[in-house]
């Protein structure tokens, strides 16, 4: 086998390069469709929809060049409520369908809307492969840790012991940590945010959209009907200061009232939360881990993802875990087609069907 020279990585912040823009002023209202929104009152999906509708005008893209693709589940109704192109597909398959669309159409900004059941259970295979291929997609994973549309069964992110309709004696399934999974799947952009934190959510969306490659954004989203309060620790004004471990690239990782907790390397090779002494000097503070989302090696990002509670959520890192450059599948695929045309010219159908071994009769 001969090796092929891969082109230099395109700048990872070129996520929207090739998508036509407009100079016309756009408003949130233009991105709202005429369809009545049909989520339960109090659903976290409303907040995400409002944030996305409010954020899209900022991109300045032509509305017709934006496409939302979803699977099945409560959150997958999302595309109906945006006045862009939208495709509400089948359970778990949105990343696969979006891979075809994004590869075929470099002039589109392609978004995937999915949930914890859709992306991590029935569609787990497609999610990990879209991430490893680094297809230029922005994937919004609404994680409510429950099946909502089918009325309350445990999901692949539900905590062990959760009592649901299908687990009356408590779930015995070990849950996935979506961020750990994405990092293990070679994802180039992995972030976590919270439905009710509009400002943080928007900031993460901005970075995710700008990233060239697959961006996975896990959004903690409250289901008020079947799993209410699952994320109270990171949402509630009184608790969040102690529960949210903020990840900011280039900053030491410190949280809690007055920054009384910090993250340091642990003896086991991972990371751990420690209390910062009131009299911590500079030498002590130098032990605090400085977040590096741009590190090529995902080890530290993975270690940070493990600070998330697997059981009932008490504490979780929030922010961008990883943001690195790698050529995208769709760019490379299109480049191969262009290279083939550039090398031998556009194919000639007659000479193809003729082939090398013909003979003539008559």
């Amino acid at each position: 086998m001969t090796s092929t020279d891969l082109p230099m990585p395109v700048l990872a912040r070129d996520g929207l390069a090739g998508v036509p823009t407009t100079d016309a002023e756009q408003s949130r209202k233009e991105f709202a469709s005429d369809q009545e929104v049909r989520w339960c009152p109090g659903c976290g999906d409303y907040a995400v929809l409002a944030a996305v509708q409010g954020f899209l005008p900022e991109l300045g893209l032509r509305r017709e060049n934006i496409c939302f693709v979803s699977g099945i589940g409560c959150s997958s109704r999302f595309p109906y409520y945006l006045d862009t192109y939208g495709l509400h597909s089948i359970h778990g398959r949105a990343p696969a369908i979006a891979t075809g669309l994004a590869t075929a159409r470099p002039d589109l900004s392609v978004w995937v809307v999915t949930g914890d059941g859709d992306a991590l259970s029935i569609g787990g295979n497609h999610l990990v492969h879209a991430l490893r291929r680094n297809v230029n997609l922005t994937i919004l994973l609404f994680n409510n840790r429950i099946y909502g549309l089918t009325k309350g069964q445990y999901s692949p992110t539900s905590e062990i012991g959760l009592v649901t309709k299908s687990t009356p004696m408590g779930s015995v399934d070990t849950p996935f940590n979506p961020v750990s999974l994405a990092l293990g799947a070679e994802a180039t952009f992995v972030a976590r945010t919270v439905d009710s934190d509009r400002k943080h959510l928007t900031a993460v969306l901005r970075e995710a959209a700008a990233h060239r490659g697959a961006s996975l954004v896990e959004i903690y989203q409250n289901c008020p009907i079947f799993n209410d309060g699952a994320f109270d620790a990171v949402k509630d004004a009184d608790q969040r200061e102690e529960a949210v471990i903020p990840l900011v690239h280039g900053e030491p990782i410190r949280f809690g009232a007055g920054g009384r907790h910090g993250v340091v390397r642990s003896a086991s090779g991972g990371v751990e939360v420690v209390d910062v002494p009131d009299d911590a000097d500079d030498a002590w503070l130098a032990r605090l881990l400085v977040h590096d989302a741009h590190a090529d090696d995902p080890t530290q990002a993975f270690a940070l993802s493990r600070l998330t509670d697997a059981g009932h959520l008490q504490r979780a890192p929030i922010g961008i875990f990883r943001q690195v450059e790698r050529p995208t599948y769709d760019d490379l695929t299109r480049q191969q087609v262009e290279t083939a045309i550039g090398t031998s010219g556009p194919g000639d159908l007659q000479s193809l069907v003729d082939g090398p071994d013909t003979w003539t009769v008559g």
Binding site: H88, R105, H129, D354, T358
Partner: protein, 628 residues
């Protein structure tokens, strides 16, 4: 030495050896020489699913059969006239098929006690009377080949591997095949290893010279070229023709082609071939699974590409839900099913036609899709672009049902003038189609096709999905009357494809046949060969072949009712027969075999004879009743 030349009108040769002996290559080359010479031909490779079963064992035997003639050839031949067996296992696995009096060329090199035992022989069949019915040429082909390439610096193993070229040279002499093409092929194939190329050519020439000079072959044979319509020809396999048909459909529609596929036997060659033709704007996506293969194809189709997903039966099962989504979305998509023996993993390398009902009904809900089936290897080209035409014109997923026999079999193909091929018009939506704006589910009054409106056009932004949609707007609708209307409309849209299907061609030369032999897919050649034999024996019989399985041709019911007896041979347990009986209330008789192999013409001639006799007996019963 002047040797006698005997004229023949047809010959069937089978090359058989170990999987690693290069029998497929040998067969391919002999085929190419034969095609260049101008005979009509048909081929049937037959190989095990295992890549390299243990050497010298029966499961490891691979074979390639070729039928060539000075007249039109319809099948790869029932029984070989010539068998080339490269080891004891190859002899044991194939000799029962050789016709009495046939020529048997055996490489005696490996007829050792150990190899004989491995093949299940208790004693050496080359000694004694076991093979007395045949003209046996037991020759140490391996030893002769090794001797011929001495001095090329090959290892002993590599030297012995040129034995297939020696055999090819010998057979090429026996049947007066042109050799230049093979020499050129070997030079190109081993361009980076000139000594290997030279050794193989030396072995090939030595094989030819061996036939020409030794006493053991007193006769060579001549099969004159077959009369064929004027034109330029090449030999082509079904999978290659199918891949070319996909490339052609892209060119004829002016659309970039997208293939989403997961490797599966016997369909993988379609993926391999299309991967080589990126300069035609072809994108291939090797997906993580069958579902993603068709999912990505659907995404590309939604984005305005001409999209295909190629697979075999087990893959279709996995793709079903996505095909159902394509039915709902009403976007063009072609799913290629190169059928193999089933159910489950079944017989991966053997042929079967048992996915017809899966293609027809294998989805939840009322989810009709048009179905097209090619009837010969070369026909895969036209069938692929016909499937694309239907998909694009009618905005629907289409199933293209090839099979393992078509996929790997080959025949001469009169190469089309591509400028004369019919264009495919994608007619993308470019603006509002109703006074109120864009209605994604407003329909063409004739075809009932909806607009194809890929993203990127301002003003046509819309949302669609797998939930039932309101007529015209495509918005979500749970209204009972609307669902009834949409289910019926999707069915009517597929039914409307019938308007573009040509009339059924019935071959009934005398016009007085009482029996119609009706087939679909790859059985066309074998049925025609059986019909030819029956006619030669004086039984008038008609033949017709169905290319469009859904919807069926509008005139098919009338055709069936014109005959007292309709017989449908199928490589399944009567799937088309079931559809015909249900649809037309005609007492169709099946003839079903699922042996993983195509029908042989003798057995079909026998079936025709039995039905003819049955009709005569029926007449007699009627007569005696009337007399009484």
């Amino acid at each position: 030495m002047v040797k006698q030349v005997e004229q023949l009108d047809r010959v069937v040769i089978r090359f058989a050896g170990d999987s690693g002996d290069g029998m497929q290559l040998t067969g391919d080359r002999f085929t190419q020489e034969t095609a260049t010479f101008g005979n009509d031909l048909s081929t049937l490779p037959n190989f095990p699913a295992e890549i390299r079963a243990p050497a010298g064992t029966l499961p490891g035997v691979s074979s390639f059969q070729l039928h060539f003639a000075d007249h039109a050839v319809l099948t790869p031949g029932d029984r070989p006239d010539v068998l080339v067996a490269m080891n004891p296992a190859a002899l044991r696995a194939n000799v029962a098929d050789l016709r009495a009096g046939g020529i048997l060329v055996v490489d005696s090199h490996d007829f050792t006690r150990r190899n004989l035992a491995r093949a299940g022989y208790e004693h050496d069949p080359l000694e004694g009377d076991d093979l007395a019915a045949f003209q046996v040429h037991a020759i140490d082909l391996t030893g002769l080949a090794t001797g011929a390439v001495e001095g090329f610096g090959l290892s002993r193993k590599d030297a012995s591997r040129t034995k297939n070229m020696f055999a090819l040279g010998l057979l090429s002499w026996m049947y007066g095949r042109p050799v230049e093409g093979t020499i050129e092929h070997v030079q190109n194939r081993f361009a980076s290893k000139p000594d290997v190329a030279a050794a193989n050519i030396a072995s090939f020439r030595a094989g030819w010279a061996f036939g020409e000079t030794t006493e053991s072959f007193a006769v060579s044979y001549e099969v004159a070229p077959a009369p064929m319509p004027a034109g330029r020809y090449r030999n082509i396999t079904g999978n290659l023709a199918l891949a070319y048909g996909i490339v052609a459909a892209g060119q004829l529609s002016g659309l970039p082609v997208f293939l989403g596929a997961y490797p599966i036997t016997p369909a993988s060659d379609v993926l391999h071939e299309l991967s080589r033709h990126k300069s035609f704007g072809v994108t291939t996506f090797q997906a993580e699974d069958e579902i993603a293969g068709v999912g990505a194809a659907l995404g590309a189709a939604y984005g305005g590409h001409l999209a295909f997903s190629s697979t075999s039966g087990p893959g279709v099962a996995l793709k079903s839900e996505t095909i159902g989504l394509a039915v709902m979305l009403e976007v063009p998509l072609v799913v290629v099913d190169v059928q193999r023996g089933g159910p489950s993993t079944g017989l991966p390398t053997k042929t079967e036609q048992a996915d017809l009902l899966q293609a027809m009904f294998g989805r939840n809900g009322e989810a009709p899709v048009p179905i097209v089936a090619p009837s010969s290897p070369a026909d895969c080209f036209d069938a692929a672009s016909e499937a694309a035409r239907i998909a694009v014109t009618h905005r629907t997923p289409v199933m293209l049902l090839s099979d393992g026999y078509l996929a790997n079999g080959s025949e001469p193909w009169r190469v089309p003038d591509v400028d004369a091929l019919p264009r495919i018009d994608p007619r993308f939506a470019d603006g509002p189609n109703t006074p109120e704006g864009f209605a994604p589910y407003a329909r063409d009054p004739e075809t009932l096709a909806r607009p194809w409106a890929p993203p990127g056009v301002a003003g046509l932004e819309h949302r669609i999905g797998g939930i039932e949609k309101a007529d015209l707007s495509g918005d979500i609708s749970y209204d009972p009357e609307n669902h009834d209307l949409m289910v019926r409309t999707r069915q009517a849209k597929v039914d409307a494809v019938a308007a573009s299907i040509p009339p059924t061609e019935v071959d009934d030369p005398t016009g007085d046949a009482r029996i119609l032999m009706l087939g679909w897919g790859s059985t066309k050649g074998p049925i025609a060969a059986g019909v030819r034999l029956a006619r030669a024996e004086g039984t008038p019989v008609a033949q017709a072949h169905v290319r469009h399985l859904n919807p069926l041709p509008p005139d098919l019911g009338d055709v069936l009712r014109r005959y007292e007896r309709v017989v449908v041979p199928e490589m399944n347990l009567g799937q088309l027969a079931l559809l015909l009986r249900a649809r037309y209330l005609v007492d169709v008789r099946g003839y079903d075999k699922v042996r993983g192999m195509p029908f042989v013409s003798d057995e079909l001639a026998q079936v025709i004879a039995e039905h003819a006799l049955d009709l005569v007996r029926q007449d007699e019963r009627t007569d005696s009743k009337e007399r009484a």
